[in-house]
Symmetry: C2
Subunit: 104 residues, 2 copies
């Protein structure tokens, strides 16, 4: 999924959701991914949820991450998230130093 | 979940499973988590799976990660994983440079 060679950057977003349905979360999450993909320096994103949710996005530079973070709609979504969607979340900005893979 | 201050380290393990049941995967995965928790330098682990699986373990140092990796049972599980459990996996060793949180 990621074709860049280290070093590059990862944003690890770990969250615990409110248990609400039809609250617009899925649409917001889809929009956030679309926004990330449209940003310069975006590489890839992986996401999984059962109980907690983990979304890891990969970026060419810290500057690309900052630009994404500054994006108005992204900031808006973070604000709404604090109010409604999440019981808890954490964001970690990481430098990917090494990687290895198995399989195609 | 993580009480350490950056910098510390993260291992991002992303995997695509074979669709087999009762193949011993869950027991192996539980054992790997137990082994990690028993290692010096272990901080925490988060895991989620739907479609792809993402497991992120957090460590105090690269040396702690290397010791964990060298652990016999862990290596064994990786080998078995190549043969049976995974269609694809990737491992990324990362330095956590910054973090922020919302919620308790």
């Amino acid at each position: 999924m990621v074709n860049s060679k280290p070093p590059y950057y990862a944003v690890i977003f770990t969250s615990l959701r409110n248990e609400q349905v039809n609250d617009g979360y899925e649409a917001m999450a889809d929009e956030m991914v679309a926004l990330a993909k449209a940003q310069p320096g975006f590489i890839a994103v992986d996401s999984a949820r059962n109980g907690i949710g983990i979304t890891v996005s990969y970026w060419e530079s810290l500057e690309a991450i900052q630009q994404w973070k500054l994006h108005t709609d992204h900031l808006l979504a973070q604000q709404l998230g604090k109010e409604k969607w999440y019981l808890h979340y954490s964001v970690r900005i990481c430098k990917v130093e090494r990687e290895y893979e198995f399989g195609g």
